[in-house]
């Protein structure tokens, strides 16, 4: 008796809820879009899209960086995922592998040359995401400390030797002043800094055939160089490094554009410049850095596939990506058009970020990358703490990455 009443009450509630849900779809096509930016920034872009496409209505939801991913997972598990979604380049390969994304290869073929950062969207020869905005890390230099150390502030280090020399000279300026900043003691950051040196030196996690080469001579050389910087470096968490740089006690560090925005507000007198990440030598290697890209994906099984792809392409297009980038102040459009737009090239510092992104790399597009990055973090960190020789750390990393990779070969 009671059970029946509870059941009836439950059914009434369910009916009410589903009625609420239905009402929205009656007024034409509704595309649900989940993203991480301030809704106020995205709203005008969406309004524009709706004006150009009468009959399509977009429901935007803002996710938080803290819980967004969990929300997307839960939505996929229960079949309530949105149609279009923003995903980070670190996560995209796993989603591609799981087969939950719509194949966007046709868009790629049409737009390939207009955008950077496609790598993380490639999986098994198909493309599952559209590069939207991106943020490269660059070398920050404190010009005051350069002058005090007898270095030319207008000529930031171009090569590893120059970087080491500048670190040593600034580090020798006195107690509490450090030449270079190295991340330590936190996850998901260290590999982004180290891999810049590794990539620049021709090292990588996988070679072009997918073989694991994380313990190659080029990687070892990069790690050994990174360790040479240690005696002149402040080894701390990112926020401490940013704080030290802001207060003029750190000569150089590799960091992102969010600092440019913050320093303008919090340290307007700080005399600093930015430069490309140094290359191994003037005649060798490249100025490579790490970039995080935000990608747009369309979830498989959407009833509004055409409208969803239309929205994703609208968002990806340069004017829209530019508006988001300028509002955020910490990212740049993935569109190549940004390279020639005075909005990004007139400021000498911002121009460096844009220029760096031409040679920046996103993490390897492996579905197991989330676990592999921790292995690389650990190898570099163990070397930095002097626990074991860099060679053994990288050999172990290669073994562990092989084990992770094997788990993803089932399909």
């Amino acid at each position: 008796m009671i059970a029946r009443r509870v059941l009836a009450a439950g059914l009434i509630c369910a009916a009410l809820f589903s009625a609420c849900g239905k009402k929205q779809t009656e007024s034409g096509t509704v595309v649900r879009f989940w993203q991480f930016w301030d809704v106020a920034v995205v709203a005008p872009i969406i309004a524009e899209f709706e004006k150009q496409n009468p009959g399509i209505r977009v429901e935007v939801e803002q996710l938080t960086w803290a819980t967004g991913l969990e929300k997307i997972q839960a939505a996929l598990a229960s079949g309530t995922q949105p149609d279009v979604c923003e995903l980070g380049s670190t996560w995209l390969p796993r989603f591609s592998y799981e087969g939950v994304l719509e194949d966007l290869t046709s868009v790629y073929e049409a737009e390939r040359d207009s955008f950077l950062m496609w790598d993380s969207a490639l999986y098994n020869g198909r493309v599952y995401g559209l590069p939207w905005v991106q943020g490269s890390r660059v070398l920050f230099v404190n010009r005051d400390l350069f002058r005090r150390a007898g270095l030319d502030p207008d000529r930031p280090p171009q090569t590893w030797d120059e970087l080491l020399d500048a670190s040593r000279r600034i580090g020798a300026l006195g107690e509490g002043i450090y030449g270079f900043g190295q991340n330590i003691g936190e996850k998901y950051v260290l590999y982004k800094k180290f891999m810049a040196f590794a990539w620049g030196n021709g090292g990588d996690v996988f070679d072009e055939h997918g073989n694991i080469v994380v313990n190659s001579p080029a990687m070892l050389e990069a790690l050994e160089f990174y360790l040479k910087l240690a005696p002149h470096s402040l080894q701390e968490k990112q926020e401490v490094l940013d704080q030290y740089f802001k207060t003029g006690r750190l000569g150089m560090q590799i960091s992102g554009a969010w600092n440019v925005k913050n320093y303008a507000l919090e340290a307007p007198d700080l005399d600093y410049g930015v430069a490309l990440v140094p290359r191994p030598a003037a005649d060798r290697g490249a100025h490579v850095s790490f970039a995080g890209a935000e990608m747009l994906v369309v979830f498989k099984g959407t009833a509004q596939k055409d409208a969803a792809i239309k929205l994703a392409r609208h968002l990806q297009a340069y004017p829209q990506a530019k508006a988001i980038s300028l509002a955020a102040g910490s990212v740049f459009p993935a569109a190549r058009a940004a390279m020639n737009d005075p909005a990004f090239t007139s400021d000498p510092r911002i121009r460096v970020f844009v220029e760096q992104s031409l040679t920046s790399r996103t993490p390897p597009a492996h579905p197991g990358w989330i676990e592999m990055e921790e292995v690389i973090d650990r190898a570099v960190e163990e070397s930095m703490y002097g626990r074991r020789a860099p060679r053994w750390c990288l050999d172990d990393a290669a073994r562990e990455i092989a084990i992770i990779a094997a788990r993803f070969e089932r399909k």
Partner: protein
């Protein structure tokens, strides 16, 4: 058949619904997950793996590390917090100036969010932070507390003791005030000194409250997570990786919900065992039952 359900049923219904949805269901669901390969991105591919996750747990070095760190955390904080709370409660019993202000101050950390406390202590331990500056003024050398694998976990433990001790001190203080004055008068007549009074009157009377403090704090300490997530994310070199942090990583980053559920049940089982042990030790005893009166 026409009997109407008692109003109690209706009064309990909202609670039962919430309890069922947010406790019973996840509890049973995660139990089922222990035996499944379940990934939220690919629910259709869920497969039964039997005891595979349990076997993996036994041989997983990451888990061994997380288990060691968690046990170290529990064994290192719970007795310290309890002893300090007992001492503070004892002090509060005596004549103290501004007692209510003190009590409020002690309780304050309990109403702060753990995230806020963790962020504050991150600053406190930072180079150039309050702790290192104080050491510098005292002529001592500072330390990189949270980036040294040897001090990162103890630093978080010290914070936990600070944050928890006030609440438990008030619980014990309340228990203190419930001890009948007549017992102390009797003890005094018998010529018992301060220690004998504490040993044979106060402590036995406090045992149920101490048991409560131990159990609650043990369960809470086994679940240490937010502090670590905010302050060190398990690093450096895995020195602060705890079981619940590993559970979180396994489920939400590695999308291995089955294995994560096994870790969750391991946390549950361990905190259960420790709680039962603590309760056994602190089972309520009346003074008459304590026979270990020294000659």
């Amino acid at each position: 058949m026409a009997r109407r359900p008692s109003p109690v049923v209706w009064l309990l219904a909202p609670w039962a619904l919430i309890y069922g949805t947010f406790f019973v269901f996840p509890f049973l669901f995660s139990f089922a997950l222990c035996f499944l390969d379940y990934n939220p991105l690919n629910v259709a591919n869920t497969s039964f793996v039997g005891g595979q996750h349990f076997a993996r747990l036994i041989h997983d070095e990451n888990f061994h590390g997380a288990l060691r760190n968690t046990l170290f955390f529990v064994v290192g904080t719970v007795p310290v917090t309890t002893t300090l709370a007992l001492a503070l409660a004892w002090l509060l019993r005596g004549p103290l100036p501004m007692k209510n202000v003190l009590k409020a101050a002690m309780f304050l950390p309990s109403i702060l969010s753990v995230v806020v406390i963790a962020l504050l202590f991150k600053l406190f331990y930072a180079p150039g932070g309050a702790l290192n500056e104080t050491l510098r003024v005292l002529g001592l050398s500072g330390h990189t507390w949270l980036t040294d694998p040897a001090t990162a976990l103890p630093a978080i433990m010290a914070m936990d003791v600070w944050a928890a001790v006030g609440y438990y001190a008030l619980v014990l203080y309340a228990a203190f005030t419930a001890i009948p004055e007549s017992l102390y008068e009797a003890a005094e007549l018998e010529g018992a000194g301060a220690w004998a009074t504490f040993r044979h009157v106060t402590f036995p009377m406090l045992k149920p409250a101490i048991g409560f403090v131990l159990v609650i704090n043990t369960i809470r300490s086994f679940q240490v997570f937010v502090e670590v997530l905010v302050m060190t994310q398990g690093g450096p070199l895995g020195s602060t990786n705890t079981m619940v942090l590993m559970l979180y990583d396994t489920a939400f980053r590695r999308l291995d919900y089955g294995y994560a559920s096994v870790i969750a049940y391991a946390v549950f089982a361990l905190s259960g065992v420790f709680s039962v042990l603590a309760m056994r030790r602190m089972r309520a005893q009346t003074p008459a039952q304590t026979r270990s009166v020294p000659a």
